[in-house]
Amino acid sequence: MKDIEELLKMTERPQDYSDEEIRQMMNDPEMRAYYELMVDAEAGFALKRSDTSKVVKRPACYTISHRFMKAAAIFAGILLLSGISFAAYHFTFGASSPAEQGKESPTQEVRVSNVHQEEITESSTIRTFENAELHQILHELSDFYHVGVKFHNEQSRHIRLYTKWDTAAPLKQIIERLNGFEKVSICLIDNQIIAE
């Protein structure tokens, strides 16, 4: 049996391998099975991404106070969406009305555009996410603060945000700020960021 590590290398840089080497590797049933798993893994993520019908619910851990956005916010931004979907979003900078606070958030349909490209720029302490998907932002946070990430709602992964992150700020504070976005509902429980 050939080595999985070699297969991993070959799939990343097939140009380093001759046709014969590729053929030999793929003639090994074990390697071929692992190769198919890699193909399936990529397809699985792509399938989940391509589900553009987004239904986002508010989680139990969400509190209305999180919806305030301050001028000195560590996270500040707007949701960047295109076309029809743009109208589906609005962003609340101030406090919500008492009537709004008292009622349960309705399930809302959100269509996410894939027209824009995500761009992440980095400076010394401020990181800018341009039209980045929520899962990308949370995983950046997860890597940085060494906590886990869990999505209870598959669709919320693909909410797109324009936002800035001060890497010097504590995670709890950042989560509060992120919850200021209309469609974002996350909390930190047992060293895990939970997104609904």
Partner: protein, 165 residues
Amino acid sequence: MSAQKEEIEQLYIGCHQRLLDMARVMLKDDDEAGDAVSDVFARLADGLLNLPTDHPESYLMAIVRNQCIDRVRKMTLRERIERRLSLAESDPTTIDSEQERITEMIDYAEQNFSSKTWRVFQLRFDEGLLYREIAERLGISEIAVYKHLTKALKELKEIFNPTRI
């Protein structure tokens, strides 16, 4: 505008994105996926395809799917490896169950892998980062990246042993 042209236009508006998404997954190339979908609509506009009155969207999905399968069949082994496309012959009748299986596989990985292994797995297969980039992003060695991926693939093979080989 004739009734048929209007119907084609409505279909284009209603399901073009879904067809394109499917073609992207199958071909792993945005340009070629766009070509495959455009070809089908061009044939439709030229009257070379007869839209059924019932479920025309499903019909278009099947036509685009077959178009993608044909394109993949014509690729060399190297071309398939470069795009990380399946080497197995696609069977249109099992594609739906295959899709269900592979999305279940991702769910399993997310729920059962350690957070680090899941993250490495995701950075590689979801975000398409190079091993070196994953190592830099996570502050681990490239060897550790291989170890996490090897562990992930072995576990998945045990549970979701691909049947299409």
